[in-house]
């Protein structure tokens, strides 16, 4: 029940709704006592032959009043209590989203997106249940249960009440126990289902391979096995699920049996009328729900607490990259100077970068080459402050990166990442990501610079074509060029191209590079690439290996001395030359 304390802040915030809701619930619980009472009274009048039309009319009016009253009140508590619960999940969801946008990449490195999604969906669902159904079952089982027991004990017979209540706690205990088991087996069934989902996903993504090797039958057989597993795990769930009704039915049956047996004894002894006995059994029927609910309550609350703890822990997490209190509001500009002794990714031992030292003058182009994993991308990520914990410093103009406001720093940097991620929106919206109100001409201009304009016009709906995960699928080269256009739309002071031309062909690469050279006169550009042709015109080229600069210089300088660059370059050349007949 601790979770109710944890959620105290929310109950306080919504205290009106919760107080009114609870009061209404109490009223409903009271009104529920009316119909059984009326049944008992009428039965007695009939049995005793004291029935009159007036009496009948009187009691029927009571029934109608109680019925309508309950109907209206039940509607309102739902809105108040369930409505508040929905509000809670909305509030938490917004909070989580905001939190996510504040967290730095090191946060995302530790976690899988699937898990974060689970927090925002399943956990919020469980918390919502606690704040809605949890509160309802708590209030309702206590009030309805309490009132009914009181009514039975005080208006009919406390002896009979005690006798008949004996089996009831078993119901609460058993339903709670079943709930725990159900949750556990259900979890397993969900896992089997998610395996099946993965299997399907994989088969569909790999459909060409399957078809190529003629493995359809075998793959279907594999699918059959996995779906069989789902069936088996679900049957276990079904078995536990099917325990509820019979258990309730037995316990209620026993309780009724006790009521009738002992009740008739009291009737014969003159302590009870037949009408009262009938009313009593009707009350007993009203007790089923609160007992069940009491059993559920434990499960709901247990799950809610676990979920709330997880979400709260997530929200407590602080971003490791924040603005200093005295951060500068100015836009950085000028030369970029790296002086890094060592940088190690959080949670790893081996340094990713060592002794990186260079100055890139404003308006110049820097080329970074080297093997996969040499540290090229990391070097760029430090400039956009995705990671910070390094020994040494990076200066932009006359200040270090940390002295600027993060927002100001990022305002001048256009970044084209290696994994070209596009949002599920139109091409135009994707390009105009930094400025949704950008005029058409600017969008077209950026697209033209990135040599993607003509491709876009070929799409069925041109610039309005929806791309991204839920839109049309584009080739890797097209996605890369759209990401380039997205960065170019900002006309950034500093452009970072992180191996962003790997999927475009040589001709397009050449076209993009030459248009960039023309357009970005006087602006700083950093390019990392596997293909040396992409960085050959750079003012400075760094060759990275294992996080260290092993060679540096212009293309001409690097070609003048033996080394990795020259070897790599000649290697490419040599094959061509031999092909040319060796001239």
């Amino acid at each position: 029940m601790k979770v109710f304390l944890d959620l105290g802040w929310f109950f306080k915030q919504e205290k009106k709704a919760y107080i009114f809701g609870t009061v209404i619930l109490l009223f409903v619980a009271l009104l529920q006592l009316v119909p059984p009472k009326v049944i008992g009274v009428i039965a007695d009048h009939i049995n005793n032959g004291t029935m009159t039309k007036g009496l009948l009319l009187e009691w029927m009016t009571v029934l109608v009043g109680a019925g309508l009253g309950m109907y209206i009140l039940r509607y309102f508590w739902r809105i108040m209590i369930f409505g508040s619960a929905v509000k809670l999940s909305k509030q938490l969801r917004n909070g989580l989203y905001q939190h996510f946008t504040n967290m730095s990449p090191s946060f995302y490195q530790k976690r899988r997106i699937g898990d974060l999604m689970a927090h925002a969906t399943n956990d919020l669902q469980a918390i919502q249940q606690t704040a809605g159904l949890g509160v309802l079952t708590l209030v309702d089982s206590l009030s309805t249960g309490g009132f009914v027991i009181l009514a039975m004990a005080f208006t009919i017979s406390w002896k009979l009440t005690l006798i008949c209540l004996i089996p009831m706690p078993f119901m609460a205990i058993l339903t709670s126990w079943f709930g725990t088991m159900l949750h556990r087996t259900f979890h397993k069934a969900q896992e089997a289902f998610s395996d099946l989902n993965d299997k399907t996903q994989e088969s569909i993504s790999g459909i060409k391979v399957i078809k190529t090797f003629g493995q359809e039958k075998e793959d279907i057989e594999d699918f059959r096995k996995k779906s069989q597993d789902v069936v088996e795990k679900n049957i276990v769930v079904a078995k536990i699920d099917s325990l509820y009704d019979p258990t309730i039915s037995i316990i209620v049956g026993i309780s009724f049996f006790l009521a009738i047996t002992f009740g008739s004894k009291f009737v014969l002894a003159g302590e009870l009328t037949i009408g009262e006995l009938i009313a009593f059994t009707t009350y007993l029927g009203l007790l089923i729900w609160p007992m069940l609910a009491f059993g559920w309550l434990f499960n709901i609350v247990e799950r809610g607490r676990a979920s709330y703890d997880r979400v709260a822990a997530l929200l407590r997490e602080k971003s490791d990259i924040t603005d200093r209190s005295d951060a500068l509001e100015i836009i950085p500009s000028g030369d970029i100077h790296y002086d890094i002794e060592k940088f190690t990714f959080p949670g790893e031992n081996k340094p990713m970068l060592k002794n990186i030292n260079f100055t890139l003058n404003r308006g110049e182009t820097l080329g970074i080459v080297g093997k996969t994993g040499a540290g090229k991308t990391t070097l760029l990520k430090l400039l956009i402050r995705e990671f910070e914990d390094y020994e040494g410093g990076i200066n932009f103009g006359s200040h270090t990166l940390q002295e600027y406001k993060l927002e100001k720093l990022r305002e001048v940097i256009g970044y084209v990442p290696q994994d070209h991620f596009l949002f599920s929106a139109s091409v135009a919206d994707n390009i105009a990501f930094t400025n949704p109100n950008a005029p058409k001409e600017d969008i077209f201009g950026a697209a033209k610079l990135a040599s993607i304009h003509d491709d876009i016009l070929q799409f069925t709906e041109g610039y309005q074509t929806v791309v991204g995960e839920r839109g049309v699928s584009l080739s890797g080269g097209q996605k890369q060029r759209i990401s380039i256009a997205r960065a170019l739309l900002m006309n950034p002071e500093v452009l970072l191209l992180d191996d962003s031309l790997s999927a475009v062909d040589a001709k397009t690469e050449e076209a993009i590079l030459s248009s960039l050279r023309k357009n970005r006169e006087g602006k700083t550009t950093i390019i990392t690439s596997h293909r040396l042709s992409a960085i050959q015109h750079a003012n400075l080229i760094l060759v990275l290996d294992n996080g260290e600069v092993i060679e540096r210089g212009t293309h001409e300088e690097l070609m003048a001395a033996p080394g990795w660059y020259k070897e790599m370059y000649l290697r490419q050349q040599l094959e061509e030359l031999v092909e040319h007949g060796g001239h």
Binding site: A43, Y71, I113, K208, T247
Partner: protein, 602 residues
């Protein structure tokens, strides 16, 4: 995950919904025997359910009210009451399990059916449909249908049964009163249809909003670094809040409609029922004596009557969803875009491996030709290389050769016979394709080489790996051939993935090799291994290869230069260079500094 589109339901007329339902129910046919068992259990438990109020009625009217307590019959009465309770509960358990079991089996069959169907569809379908939505059909939609089967088979039928039973018993007890009680039926049906009408709309809206919300969240998480580096956090937070608000509104609407029409409304009808019964007995008692036990039984039945109604109401939205899901599943099952047909009776076999394209013209959409009048021949053991700009039609040639798509004009001949005349198995066995993105499945490295060919021995697997230069690096992996491949092989480099894909093809030992060369980021050492492997693989096999790096196909017997679906140049590497045309230009462009270097060297 693909959303449940609101239009989907709007499009389904009552008639279509019925058709979907009856088609779904037709899946019960193979389970006739089990259903009979389940229904027998259902009849027994329902009888048990109906019996107890009658026993109490007999007790009240015959023994309690007259004060006539005879020991023996009372013991029998009490024992049978308890006995019935226990037996009923016991049977109830098996009945509930049985219905769920049948439902699960039905869904499994439906899943296998749709999965098999998807496997049999042509690639055209996969081009037009996002993978996520297909997966959604196979798993999530069938899951929605499962919920319905479990509830339709148990809740609906069970409740319906009980309701009928209650009415029959009521008629036996008192015909006139039972007739009065018939008044509930239209009332309940009215509430149900009202509820169904509104709630299905609101419920679907909420589902739609929720899936929008999740899509937005998942996408934001995936693109978070982009959002942050481009400083769009505030804008996206706002966008998210807007969707979240809409979801909240939809949730509130649901709560309201549930509050108006669900349990509170049913309880109100119960009160109405009570008024009718009590009035009836009250008024009758004014003229003639009334059996108080019958009153008890009626009130008791009334209580039992409304629980199943509540159950059914709560499940109505599931039903609605299942129908929509079912309609979508059947839409796939009815798809006609099958993979191109082969003559599977054919005994023709590929002996030499001579491939000839004859005047082939092809279009994906029937409007724009992506291949125009393509003709060429690859003689047994020779390599034909396809080069050209992105979109020039290289991949289309391979797609047609692999029979991923059907063509209309022209023909492809293998050993002089139309490719259509070979059986599918023969084609798959003799033709090996290596794809640009080497797709690895979840499992071990070995699984990925053998695929489902379990007859391959460890030696054969190793041999294949050795042949393609993959053995060395595989041995260095943890657990070597039993190394776990996770997340599409993301822990392996793309070069390594490709070598494994090569080994997969070589293990199948095809006569004809179709290569779609990978372009992106392969480190130099692996690159060398790949080149060596490629030339070894090509030996003795007719090869059709797409080359992005022209250096890899210098020794091809024939190079076709494609441009906008046409072969614009053809010849050997040297011939094409001498020609000084498109090929020559492409060749120079692959290395922009070439001329300068040449200058230096001269």
């Amino acid at each position: 995950m693909e959303d449940i589109k609101m239009e989907d339901t709007a499009q389904l007329t009552e008639k279509e919904q019925k058709r979907v339902l009856s088609r779904l129910l037709s899946y019960t046919k193979p389970h006739k025997k089990e259903l009979i068992v389940a229904f027998s259990l259902l009849v027994l438990t329902t009888l048990g359910e109906l019996a107890s109020p009658i026993l109490v009625k007999i007790f009240i009217d015959d023994y309690l009210a007259p004060g006539n307590l005879v020991f023996k019959p009372l013991v029998i009465l009490g024992a049978s009451y308890l006995g019935i309770q226990f037996v009923k509960s016991f049977l109830l358990f098996f009945q509930l399990v049985k219905f769920q079991e049948i439902a699960l089996k039905i869904i499994q069959q439906l899943r296998i059916d749709i999965f098999s169907k998807v496997q049999s569809l042509g690639l055209k379908y996969f081009d037009q449909t996002p993978a996520g939505s297909i997966v959604s059909r196979v798993t999530n939609d069938t899951e929605a249908i499962k919920d319905m089967f479990v509830t339709v088979l148990s809740t609906f039928i069970q409740s319906g049964f009980l309701l009928i039973g209650i009415f029959i018993t009521m008629f036996i007890l008192d015909v006139k009163l039972a007739l009065f009680c018939l008044i509930f039926i239209p009332l309940i049906l009215l509430v149900m249809s009202l509820y169904r009408k509104f709630s299905s709309r609101f419920y679907l809206e909420m589902r739609e909003r929720l899936s929008q919300l999740n899509a937005k969240l998942s996408e934001s998480l995936q693109g978070m670094s982009i959002i942050q580096v481009f400083r769009q956090e505030k804008r996206l937070r706002k966008e998210f809040e807007v969707i979240n608000d809409k979801h909240y509104d939809a949730g509130m609407k649901n709560i309201k409609i549930d509050g108006l029409l669900l349990r509170p409304a049913v309880d109100l009808i119960f009160i109405l029922g009570l008024i009718i019964v009590l009035n009836y007995f009250g008024l009758t008692s004014l003229d003639s004596p009334v059996e108080i036990g019958v009153l008890y039984a009626f009130v008791n039945y009334l209580e039992r009557f409304f629980e199943p109604v509540n159950n059914m109401m709560m499940r109505l939205s599931l039903y609605q969803q299942a129908i929509v899901a079912g309609a979508r599943v059947f839409r796939i099952l009815d798809k006609q875009e099958l993979a191109p047909g082969q003559n599977d009776e054919s005994k023709l076999s590929i002996e030499k491996g001579r491939i000839e394209f004859k005047n082939l013209t092809f279009s994906y959409d029937g409007k724009r030709d992506v291949l125009k009048n393509i003709s060429f021949t690859a003689n047994p053991g020779e390599t034909v290389a396809l080069v050209g700009h992105t979109g020039s039609g290289k991949s289309s040639i391979i797609n047609l050769l692999m029979r991923f798509y059907e063509f209309e004009k022209g023909d492809i001949l293998i050993d002089g016979q139309s490719i259509r005349h070979f059986s599918k198995d023969e084609l798959r066995e003799k033709m090996g394709l290596v794809l640009q993105d080497s797709f690895l499945f979840y499992g071990t490295v070995r699984d990925n080489i053998t695929l489902h060919n379990h007859h391959l021995t460890d030696e054969q697997v190793e041999e294949a790996a050795q042949f393609v230069q993959a053995h060395t690096f595989i041995e260095k992996l943890e657990d070597s051939y039993h190394h776990k491949v996770v997340e599409r092989g993301s822990t392996l480099s793309s070069g390594q993935r490709q070598l494994i894909a090569f080994a997969r093809t070589i293990a199948a030992n095809p006569k004809i090799l179709v290569l779609d060369e990978a372009t992106a980021n392969i480190d130099t050492e692996t690159e060398e291994a790949i080149q060596t492997a490629l030339s070894k693989m090509r030996k003795g096999r007719t090869t059709i290869a797409i080359a992005h790096r022209l250096s890899t196909i210098q020794d091809a017997n024939l190079i076709l230069v494609l441009h906008q679906g046409e072969i614009v140049e053809r010849g050997t590497h040297q011939e094409l260079l001498a020609l000084g045309g498109l090929y020559h230009k492409m060749f120079l462009l692959q290395n922009g500094a070439l001329e300068r270097l040449e200058d230096v060297m001269h």
